[in-house]
């Protein structure tokens, strides 16, 4: 009996360990390789910062920099636009009758559930049929259209949690509708808006298929994801500087996450003290 339960405990504990190892080993491996300046995954060249130096000195450095800038620019413009569109759309959807709200919510989820390749092809056909200008216009419109539903998905729950009389209370106290939305509704749903923005930004940076199919062949626009794809094709294997680039990204993201969580952790105890007073 006793042995059985310890065995069970061991399984329970090892499960999380296995999951974490599977998740983090590849990332860790990549960071390790970034210090060995290799594209053949061997340690023969010894440890160095060469890969990091190449980021700025290799013949591809300017293209890489341009791709990086494009990625950030597209992500920034499309996520800000999607956040504004999505937030106001959510407030509108929230104000609808229960039945039409259900319908619109389901329609909104369609692009999220749908496979990305379908959307990519559909967007491509749409842009070609209606002769949208090549390049940034198509990319931005495409990114905005697939980011907006995520913002709606992240803002809606905040609105649903809100006391249903809040908006009416603001009107009752003399606020006109726009004022009530700006100074009451938006501050309350702000956490949802921010996480929607973060999500939109990330999926825009991540996106490959939609960008690849809609960037057009003549415009020459590359983002990080499309550039790594084409450079792997043309140069026969990944150049070492890619490992360096991604290692930097990981460190930045993890650092930002830690910072946010630490700040939140510091805030909580003070709040508790206030409650117990």
């Amino acid at each position: 009996m006793v042995e059985k339960s310890t065995l069970k405990k061991l399984f329970e504990r090892s499960y999380i360990v296995i999951a974490l190892v599977l998740l983090y080993t590849p990332i860790f491996l990549m960071i390790v390789f970034s210090f060995f300046n290799t594209s053949s995954f061997s340690f023969s060249k010894g440890m160095s910062f060469n890969a990091y130096i190449q980021l700025f000195t290799s013949s591809n450095a300017s293209t890489l920099g341009q791709a990086f800038k494009n990625t950030l620019l597209i992500a920034a413009i499309s996520s800000v636009t999607a956040t504004i569109l999505g937030s106001f759309a959510s407030i509108g959807i929230f104000a609808m009758s229960k039945r039409s709200r259900k319908i619109v919510e389901n329609v909104n989820q369609l692009p999220v559930i749908n496979s990305e390749i379908v959307i990519a092809v559909a967007l491509m056909l749409f842009f070609i049929t209606f002769r949208f200008p090549d390049g940034y216009t198509r990319l931005l419109l495409g990114h905005i259209s697939f980011c907006t539903p995520y913002v709606v998905l992240s803002v809606m729950p905040r609105l649903m949690q809100m006391d249903s009389n809040i908006y009416e209370a603001a009107l009752d106290l003399g606020a006109k509708p726009l004022r009530a939305i700006v100074s009451v509704i938006i501050p309350i749903i702000l956490p949802g808006i921010l996480s929607g923005f973060a999500m939109a930004f990330t999926i825009s940076v991540d996106d490959f298929i939609i960008t690849q199919l809609n960037k057009g062949t003549t415009s020459g626009i590359e983002t990080l994801s499309t550039y790594i794809y084409s450079s792997q094709h043309t140069a026969g294997g990944l150049k070492p500087y890619w490992f360096a680039a991604f290692s930097i990204i990981i460190v930045v993201v993890v650092g930002a996450l830690l910072l946010i969580n630490l700040r939140r952790y510091k805030k909580t105890p003070s709040k508790r003290a206030e409650n117990s007073r």
């Binding site: 809040i166 009416e168 009752d172 106290l173 003399g174 606020a175 309350i188 206030e274």
Partner: protein, 484 residues
């Protein structure tokens, strides 16, 4: 128009998707009054309040506030403020900013004037200064006993404190009328009692008109100057608490407010009423001779005497006696009748099985017209021997041809109610059940909004779906003459 009237409703109705929620409500509220809308949930009291606040537009009718037609004005143009049941405080603002919210939006005349091209004189408006706002918020906080709480986050407050902030947030705007939508519903009993007294004190001190919505009859009786009893979107009675309690307008009001015995009876002549198979002297007159009526007797108006007392009007056997703190709650079966049950509150301790005499003062017998004595529906024959009632085809014994206009009458005790909706010819929802001594009178609302009255042995739960049918020989059909 007298300035005395602060709110006036004229034939105000509201329906959602054709379903009436408030039907032709008319009333006037005087300045400084404490008025309570009382009724069971779904009676339209909150909807009426929301129409006065401006959150809902009436389907028809007019709402006057301070003598001005405000029927379609938005909430921010009305000088009324609402306290919501679940407080609706702004979670992102602290106590101070919650209360200051309305003040920061307010504009007041600044004493200077300007004259436009056409010679019209206008008084200039200005915003309140920071100091003015701070002073007003401080006074409001003091009024609700929360002086130390200015900087507190509203999520850190208890339910009672949140309610006080909500009240302060509304009162600080100095509204003409304060609307309170079941404001104490979420508080525990003790807190509720304290807040009742505090609200009454505030009302006295400020002189602002309070319009209060509740389903708690005790709360209404304690706090109000005037009670408006509502049911199914219709006002049943408007009166002082004392009047509503002592002279209920109908069986519903009597049943809803306080406990009561309700019996069906007959007004034999003036000053003589017969119910529970006994005759009684009463103080009412002006009814038709032998008119069927409802008699209402409050439990505390029945006195228990010894069975050989000369004053005893009724003999009864005690069936139960429960101690309730300040009185005994006694049920007694009246002798010499069909086992009518009487509920009594008295401070005599008795044991089940005791034989006692009962006495009721003539002035404590409240006699009222019956809402209805038979179910009557104007409809058409579906076919020979079939009549349409509320969308269902009822078999009957009548050889009039299809399409003939007829009046159908069904006695209350001929309506058969089934547990399963599908067992009846038509379905309906129980909207009311009143115990009448030895049977229950239920009201079943069909899907075509006709109310069937039915006398049954069993108690049916309000809100349940049931089936209705009537035996063919119990449907009385009279042909209606075609009128041009």
């Amino acid at each position: 128009m007298t300035t005395d009237k602060i709110i006036e409703l004229k034939n105000v109705s509201k329906s959602y998707d054709e379903k009436p929620v408030v039907s032709s409500v008319s009333l006037t509220i005087k300045k400084g009054e404490f008025v309570t809308f009382l009724g069971p949930s779904g009676c339209g009291k909150t909807t009426t309040l929301r129409m006065i606040a401006g959150f809902e537009k009436p389907t028809s009718g007019t709402i006057y506030i301070s003598g001005k037609d405000m029927t379609t004005s938005p909430p921010y143009d009305r000088n009324v403020n609402t306290v919501f049941q679940n407080y609706a405080l702004f979670p992102h603002l602290n106590v101070y900013n919650n209360i200051a919210f309305g003040l920061k939006l307010k504009s007041i005349p600044d004493g200077t004037f300007f004259v436009d091209k056409n010679g019209n004189k206008f008084e200039n408006l200005r915003k309140l200064t920071k100091d003015e706002i701070a002073a007003k918020v401080k006074t409001a906080l003091k009024m609700v006993d929360l002086e130390e709480y200015e900087k507190r986050n509203v999520s850190s407050l208890s339910g009672g404190q949140k309610q006080r902030v909500a009240i302060a947030r509304s009162l600080v705007n100095e509204p003409d009328v304060l609307l309170l939508d079941e404001p104490l519903g979420a508080l525990d009993l003790k807190m509720r009692k304290d807040m009742q007294i505090e609200l009454m004190n505030m009302h006295k001190k400020l002189g602002i008109t309070f319009l209060y919505v509740t389903h708690d009859q005790e709360e209404a009786l304690t706090m109000s100057d005037t009670i408006v009893v509502m049911k199914d979107g219709i006002i049943q009675q408007i009166g002082t608490p004392q009047k509503v309690y002592d002279e209920p307008a109908n069986a519903f009001v009597a049943d809803f407010i306080g406990e009561s015995n309700i019996f069906s009876g007959i007004m034999v002549t003036d000053f003589n009423v017969k119910f529970c198979d006994h005759s009684f002297e009463c103080v009412d007159k002006g009814f038709k001779y032998n008119e069927p009526i409802d008699v209402i007797v409050r439990p505390e108006d029945v006195s228990i005497l010894s069975s050989d007392d000369a004053r005893a009007a009724l003999l009864a056997t005690i069936s139960s006696c429960v101690f309730k703190g300040d009185h005994f709650q006694i049920t007694a079966i009246i002798a010499g009748g069909e086992d009518y049950e009487m509920l009594i509150h008295d401070n005599v301790n008795c044991r089940p099985g005791d034989k006692v005499g009962l006495y009721i003062k003539p002035s404590d017998l409240h006699i009222m017209h019956k809402a209805r004595i038979i179910n009557e529906i104007v409809t058409e024959m579906w076919d020979t021997n079939t009549v349409e009632i509320c969308g269902g085809k009822f078999p009957c014994q009548c050889d009039l041809p299809s399409g003939t206009k007829v009046k159908v009458s069904v006695d209350f005790d001929d309506v058969i109610i089934y547990d399963d909706e599908n067992d009846g010819i038509i379905g309906g929802e129980i909207v009311n059940t009143i115990y009448k001594g030895n049977y229950y009178q239920c009201v079943v609302r069909t899907d075509t909004y006709y109310d069937f009255f039915a006398d049954t042995e069993d108690e049916w739960l309000k809100g349940d779906r049931v089936g209705i049918s009537v035996a063919p020989d119990k449907i009385l059909i009279t042909k209606l003459e075609e009128t041009i």
